[in-house]
Symmetry: C2
Subunit: 183 residues, 2 copies
DNA sequence: GAGCGGACGTTCCATTGTGACAAGTTAGGG
DNA sequence: CCCTAACTTGTCACAATGGAACGTCCGCTC
């Protein structure tokens, strides 16, 4: 009764195509590779791995050095992944608490709102810088960069630029009229 | 021991500032007003309402026509909201399954990938159109439009435009080289 | 005035997230 | 060489969330 894979489980299988990995490794890999548009927690990873081992999609190897428990793909897992990746991916969801604060902005003092907004704006500036750096180091490497990974990274860039643009065109009431721009 | 409000509960309190509403009304209002950047399900709304009634943040009025159970704000609820709205809002999270499909794009046929991408692109085009329409109707109304609501709507516009831009600059391997463009 | 469909609320179950904890491992100061 | 502090890796228990079915009530239509 193979239930269809959920995206998180599928991602783990995807990573395992590179070879056996432990839950710990997978958490780290996922965080850096898909962390910008997918979240998964440690407990979820171990849970999914256990469930998939149950279902025969992966097998646990021998315990290694620090009690490491490496999992590897089975043929069945490869098939399940292959099926999943061809499926229609679901719609995206965004959860943006700052926008809640803004939409209810009439209920707080403009100064406080502006302060909050400025803080987030700074955060996004940093994020954009980080993505840009990632992009150039990825392009600077010796071997030709992965087109697919690059495409998803580009999404992050477009997203952050859009957010920044949006911040900049916010009306004075929200943004605070003070010009602490530059840089 | 007043636990700090979660954003969902806080939003409900925010809406209740307009007057008594039922869970059903709140679901609808939330869907249209904050639906673009916050999700809340029916069960969650009723759950939060019950919990907040427990905590004295809202009170349920008499059952109305179709078993309607209108909730209204208490002073305590107003205070709790007021405190919440001044707090630092948490970071945003995005969950975008399409990007998972793309990052593992090497594992499926380019045609299939292009097909999937094209579908999502169309969806986003529609969404952008819808937002643009919302914006102009909001601006066209008699009374001056709400600055705060407009700002959050603008976020949606910026976001959708960014996504569309991103789609357009995707490399041919992913996007499919076929030119089925033009609106 | 019977019955259909939408409004409204409630409940249950699966999934996800949070956080603490335990045991093994390494590194470096004494 | 020994000991402790810091880290790795896995596990567990619990809280929060989401999805979906269900039951009832009521306004409408025929």
């Amino acid at each position: 009764m193979e239930r269809p894979l959920n995206p998180t489980a599928a991602s783990l299988l995807g990573f395992l195509h590179h070879g056996p990995m432990t839950g710990w490794d997978l958490v780290a890999a996922a965080q850096t590779v898909i962390g910008n548009y997918w979240t998964l927690t440690q407990s979820q990873v171990y849970r999914e791995l256990a469930a998939m081992a149950d279902g025969g999609l992966v097998v646990a190897g021998e315990r290694g050095r620090r009690d490491r428990k490496p999992y590897s793909l089975t043929d069945q897992g490869r098939d399940a992944f292959s099926e999943w990746v061809r499926r229609e991916p679901g719609p995206e969801t965004i959860r943006f608490p700052l926008l809640l604060t803004i939409v209810f902005g009439r209920h707080l003092e403009p100064e406080r709102l502006a302060e909050i907004v400025a803080g987030h704006r700074a955060t996004h500036r940093e994020r954009l810088a980080r993505y840009e750096e990632m992009r150039s180091t990825a392009l600077g490497g010796t071997d030709e960069p992965d087109v697919y990974g690059m495409a998803t990274l580009d999404f992050g860039l477009h997203y952050e630029r859009a957010v920044l643009d949006w911040f900049e065109q916010l009306p004075a009431v929200i943004r605070g009229s003070v010009q602490e721009d530059s840089v």
